[in-house]
Symmetry: C2
Subunit: 192 residues, 2 copies
């Protein structure tokens, strides 16, 4: 009854996420997006309404892909302490392997947008809140398991880990120094 799309919108959002992640919102033009998704402006705007709307979808996709991956890993099997260590190590490794220096898309969004942009602002908060909550529940699990001091303030420790991973990702942009980044991770873990 009607012509079907010549591309997969879902896969297109993935590609858009990569472009926005690497170049930021202001640093990405509709032409770049069109080139990356392999479609013209007609299709782009017909499918996604506006550059900003596509960015929102890309950031949501980032949450679903990257953040949820971290959360599920922390909620996974094994010793709580070891899970936290591995999660932090994965972030350090990702920062070092990140040849394009994309950093964390949520942190990038936090810096590029003001809180006047409600949609982006709430998405960013959600990403940070979920990460912190995942750290916290894993820490509490570790406390129940006797791996982490039960007297410690789990919320405060989770906040420190959240700050540390964001600090690591920001600093890695300017200077991806393995020794320094590892030291940050190692020392934060020692606080547990």
């Amino acid at each position: 009854m009607a012509r079907t799309k010549g591309f997969d919108p879902d896969a297109a959002v993935d590609k858009a996420m990569e472009v926005f992640w690497a170049n930021g919102y202001a640093g990405t033009t509709p032409r770049q997006l069109g080139a990356a998704l392999g479609i013209g402006p007609g299709s782009l705007y017909n499918a996604f309404t506006s550059k900003h709307a596509l960015y929102e979808r890309a950031l949501r996709r980032y949450y679903e892909r990257e953040t949820v991956r971290l959360i599920e890993f922390l909620d996974g099997p094994g010793s709580p302490r070891a899970r936290i260590r591995t999660a932090i190590d994965l972030i350090v490794t990702a920062a070092l392997d990140d040849r394009e220096r994309r950093g964390c898309m949520a942190a990038n969004a936090a810096i590029e947008f003001t809180d006047e942009d409600d949609v982006v602002h709430h998405l960013v908060r959600r990403i940070f809140d979920r990460q912190e909550a995942a750290f916290r529940s894993t820490i509490e699990e570790g406390q129940r398991a006797g791996e982490i001091d039960p007297e410690a303030d789990a919320a405060a420790l989770a906040a420190l880990l959240l700050a540390t991973i964001n600090g690591i990702r920001v600093l890695a942009k300017a200077d991806p120094n393995p020794a320094r980044l590892s030291a940050m991770a190692e020392t934060a873990l020692r606080a547990l």
Copy 2:
């Protein structure tokens, strides 16, 4: 022998720093700069060559004003441990009082620019390196004074503090939650 400038270029760089700090590089237009400095485009370009060149000067000014202030405070009188605590507290307070949500201009620059921009990249690295070095030497002083465990890795602790203050500033952009930010600061200090 020649007409003198109708404005103070040095004061103009200060104002430009404020505008870039609050809006980012891409988010700042020559018209905004002209309005903030009270000069027309002719004077602007006559005095500062290009938007990018003015940004470089603004970022240098940020280093001279903000970073040097932190370093001098850490190098100042009083107990090393107390100096570090106060320095971190000042950063938390500044993040909470920052109604415009400007964050740290160096972190903003690290995220907005890639390392292809050599001048900005080196300025940002210098800011981070100097901050870390100041933390480190204060920690070492604290170790000599017996306030901090002499067996601890001063470089690693300094790296953690650097990551923490950057994490605090990034997270404060999305959610300036006093309890959370204080918890980050407090917990990082406990690692000393």
